[in-house]
Subunit: 316 residues, 2 copies
């Protein structure tokens, strides 16, 4: 499948193992395209992680306008100051409306471009609201396997992506703002439940303390016992780099809370999510191969939907 100009897999694997960032970039491209050339590298990455050489894989989500990208930018700076190497995967929705605005955000990340301790990559989402691409978990694994200390997945917090991000990462950071009753909305929408750490960003706006109090009150309302992890709520002003160390500390505290057993369970759940999305993608291809006829028959009452589902699963 490899183009004539592509380096052969053997040397690519070696260079990837040695931490060569151009080899990582190539591996990510292969994985994104779902090409078989990525598979030995993915195995190598996962085995390295299974040996305990892991990254902190952090998902960052929040509503548009919460300053998520600025916060990720500030996290990179703070982690670099500690000598940590950071890879970022930014998932852009392919919406014709929002594409432009999000590209603008990405441009800010270019300032880390010359730093070999930072690796930034963008990946399209499955449609505007369709969630993460089925290749996202593989790309995160490749980044981890290249020896980064932190791997950050950033998505716009809409639709399916918000659910997916928690399934694809070790820890989830939810970014809210004091404006527009963000806290109350997150509470009502059930989004709070996916958060391991909450940042109330733009904390210099009025209402920050009230938002923190409301969030804490909401946490107390949920079912909990002595083992429940209450997501630490940290005020940040990402544009000024304020509160970032406290966010990093909260993520590290969550990792300590998980412990080795908890982290393994999360990684198993992440594998489940990965396999599930790959299965869905294969089924979609099968259904397309069958043509429109199947659904037409269901719509007209000629074929039972349950029967159609069984047929699709039986088809090879």
């Amino acid at each position: 499948m490899s183009a004539p100009s592509a380096p052969p897999t053997g040397p690519l694997l070696e260079r990837y193992r040695a931490g060569d960032l151009r080899a990582l970039a190539r591996a990510v491209t292969l994985a994104e395209a779902g090409l078989d050339g990525a598979r030995p590298l993915l195995r190598a990455a996962r085995q390295r992680a299974a040996r305990g050489e892991r990254a902190v894989v952090l998902g960052v989500t929040g509503s548009p306008g919460s300053g998520k990208s600025t916060l990720v930018d500030a996290l990179i700076a703070a982690l670099r100051a500690r000598g940590q190497r950071v890879a970022v995967l930014a998932v852009d929705p392919s919406s014709p409306y929002s594409g432009g605005a999000i590209l603008g955000d990405r441009i800010r990340m270019l300032r880390h471009h010359a730093d070999p301790g930072v690796f930034v990559r963008s990946l399209a989402s499955r449609g505007a609201l369709g969630g993460l691409s089925e290749r996202t978990p593989g790309v995160l694994a490749l980044m981890e396997g290249a020896g980064f200390d932190w791997v950050i997945l950033e998505t716009v917090g809409v639709g399916q992506s918000e659910v997916d991000i928690a399934a694809a990462c070790d820890h989830t950071l939810l970014v809210l703002t004091p404006a527009g009753g963000d806290g109350v909305q997150a509470f009502k929408a059930g989004i709070m439940e996916i958060a391991d750490v909450i940042a109330v960003n733009k904390a210099d706006l009025p209402g920050a303390d009230r938002t923190v109090r409301e969030l804490m009150a909401a946490q107390g309302l949920g079912a909990h016992d002595e083992h429940t992890w209450f997501a630490p709520i940290r005020k940040t002003i990402a544009a000024k780099g304020e509160g970032i160390d406290a966010v990093i500390a909260a993520v590290e505290a969550h990792r300590a809370h998980l412990g080795e057993a908890g982290l393994l369970a999360r990684r198993e759940a992440r594998a489940e999510y990965e396999v599930r999305t790959l299965v869905q993608e294969r089924l979609l291809r099968r259904a397309r191969a069958q043509g429109r006829d199947l659904y037409q028959r269901v719509a007209q009452g000629e074929l039972d939907a349950e029967q159609a589902a069984d047929d699709l699963l039986g088809a090879r």
Copy 2:
């Protein structure tokens, strides 16, 4: 599978066909549980729709606090005043946080309880953010097949449900408010693209006209040609019943715009969505039957995720 007290399927089908609401309630219960007893009724419902005896199947979504439930309430009243029969399916997230608040909303619907022209049913969602239950399309079909003129699906506009609702209905009504830059957020988040009609509710709050202008400007930015449907934007004050007729007219205008061919295409897409969710549910059961072992092996790099996906699809 039927309990001793359940009526036999034959008479149930007859009573359902005759428009008996208790038979509909029983059919919905069977369909929700995925029991085979629902299948003859589902076929009858779909064949009736295929003969052209259709309901206007309207999905209503919007952020928590947008006044969605109040708007649905006002729609019921306005449609009843025109002699139209209305069935409502309200999908509640099973979130421990939000459950209570949403139950409160439901209670308002009880006031239509004595009206035989109104049928209201609640259905749990797949988890707090997990989207509609795979049985939702079947329940909507049963409501339509019982002879209602309008079938309204109401969900909290979060996570996957927002995407699902457009896939499960003929038309989608997006409810926004002037507060908190709702319009700009919808624009940035790509939510606008799923809307066929937009209600700016609570239009007595400051900023309603500005929100309408922003939304219209945003619509102009998207790719469009002379066939593009620009979702009509209507100001409403649902609590006072204001603007509701204009919303109904906009839905009817969208139906006219679709035409017979467009509506058939939507119904085919709805069937596709239904089959797809049923397939996913079956796969989930298969994976559970295989136990945790599969994902553990993927997490530890012993098994390729792609291979695991193939194995799962091959398993019988």
